[in-house]
Chain length 151, copies 6
């Protein structure tokens, strides 16, 4: 779906929530295969059984990539992804956990250099099936202004 | 390879560099499949040809995940990934571009609460075959101290 | 996105259109891998060059599956997929072709046995980048009625 | 294997049966990834547990594609897939179910326009490990005639 | 297809030949992902361009696995794969090359210990589209005897 | 990691050992998809339950490819893979088994023709979590000599 929104249209506090997705053993195998990260924390069930966390753990970049992908539902031709701040792995995600994502606009900033654009900050929170937070970050969007900022 | 290093062992300025990896159309197809992000910027060559960038662009989360995976060569049993700061998409990556990663320890911080651990910051820079920076971020590691920090 | 609609809410003539997606060599390789169909029409570029169509052809089930997947954007808790009629492969799809899908409600029928449900027919048309039809079918949905049908 | 058969060679009642294949969680993850259909019916085990069917369900297009792929064992250079009729999802397929396919030639028709070809109809029936039918359809083949049809 | 054959039924000189399959960039990406071998010879087009062979090379284990898979067309319930001898990489395989396989029974041996079985040797030769040999090996099958061997 | 070693630098008895990796159902599904080998021994859990081994077995080429991939940790620009001898499948590998690999230089040979190179033999042994050998082979490397061999 395409929804055109200028920087002026973003409302602080606007919030959305995705459906859930279960993280499977296949996801971890595919992510190891895509990234080349075959660390035993993700790939060796036998060794993991000897560790504190007992079970294989999903890659942090897997949960981040899937969670961000789950929020990619609407295209805004006036916005582009600028980066991420304060990405933190709060709890491990295990095989069989089901994650869902909430995203809330928390801040609007001037761009340090461009008057034609602003930066919208969307707080991302990924939770598991027990409503525990597993990952947080801030997604920064570079958004075109309808009217350039004044000096 | 397993190399045990305590927080005290980390040296600011220590730098390493990965080999290269070409980002392929297959990588983008697989990443769309893993994340569910089928935005036309990544998947619709026909539409992309009408846009400023002319060609399909790799997902930001793909370049980030692959780049971080490329740095996952040595396991330190005393460290774990804590999160990322200031992740920025500096330039687009196109099909056929070859990326490599440099990683440099730039900072060591006390952990705000735990005296038993410190935070080591590794600056990550992903470049393409023309030595242009495409992505930067700071990778934070939570690292055990050999000796707890004093108050 | 979840949108609840009963059989009575379906409007004949309601139409929607997806964004585009380029069919890649990777898609064909993955589909062969999923289905086990490694026929040379899809997998042997050397042999294909000696045939009338000159190039590898996407599997019919690939174009069908991807096209139907592209229409799976909104969940209606009152409807479920019942089947398909008159699925026809009108033109081959080659590597690099970009397909998009239009879907139009064309008919509403009583269910032969259940008074609590009706059948809604959605005509699916998949086209390539030259607006040529490559695949058509009718997607049948079993949809709950708000009020059971009279005898 | 290549076996050349003209339309005249097709025998109504000719039947064949495939070996079995277990539908795995990985198949569903890969099919979601190929089609972009991440509906919770297939991907969210936690939500599925609250529904009537209790467990994740394989995509209809997955079972159809795999089942048809399982029948793609012999190449007939005189035939090509023309389309499908009356595709119906009779029962859900769950992770761990093992499907097999029977295929029987049930009808031979003149082509509405071409005298050089006929249409052979192969009834496809996919069953699970309990011999319950899960999917049926009619596969239509366009088959060259050894001798053109008379008017 | 299932064809039951005892050791006595194997005929030296019996030969079969597969259809062709084009080795794609996607195959190499998937094989790297499955095996964890991301060596630049397979993954870094930029670096390969500076080497003698100029282009990315398929993994030896990829060509071997695909070639052996291409010969896995008939199941003999009386035989099982015992191992391989004299596997040699004769020429590199590049992206876009089309391989096919010939397999010929060249030898029948007593099993060193079991009188109930013999060892059948099938010479495997994988060639590219220019009929150049790229890989050879001997595939050893452990095959049940109809009648145990005499002392 | 790149470590340059000439033939003269290889030491008989030098041994290394990899970390472990659990073989998953997803690995088998992906390997079937890559090779086209959908034999019921690997893919049909229902049929396997009626056989002596009771459970699905990993493809021999999967265990070989993964095991060899696990040893591909250091690049030696003076060596290349020449082939394999005496590859034997000693025990089946089941879903959930965790394999690790030991590799030991056991022999150094003159090359039959080239005085500029020698052949180094590395004995590969793949074991499961119970320290049982599942696969052995000899990996032959063609390695450049610092000084050509005398006649």
């Amino acid at each position: 779906m395409i929804v055109e929104e200028f920087f002026e249209d973003y409302r602080i506090g606007f919030s959305r929530r995705t459906m859930g997705r279960t993280i499977t053993e296949a996801d971890i195998v595919l992510h190891a295969g895509q990234t080349g990260d075959f660390f035993p924390h993700h790939m060796d069930a036998h060794w993991c059984a000897t560790q504190d966390f007992k079970r294989r753990i999903a890659h942090g970049t897997l949960i981040f990539s899937v969670g961000i992908g789950m929020t990619a539902s609407t295209i805004n031709p006036r916005a582009m992804s600028y980066g991420y701040d304060r990405l933190r792995f709060v709890r491990p995600v295990f095989i069989g956990d089901t994650i869902s994502v909430s995203a809330t606009i928390t801040e609007k900033r001037d761009h340090p250099k461009r008057k034609t654009h602003g930066i919208a900050v969307e707080a991302i929170e990924i939770r598991n099936q027990d409503a525990e937070t597993v990952l947080v970050c801030e997604h920064l969007y570079l958004v075109e202004r309808r009217t350039p900022a004044e000096t």
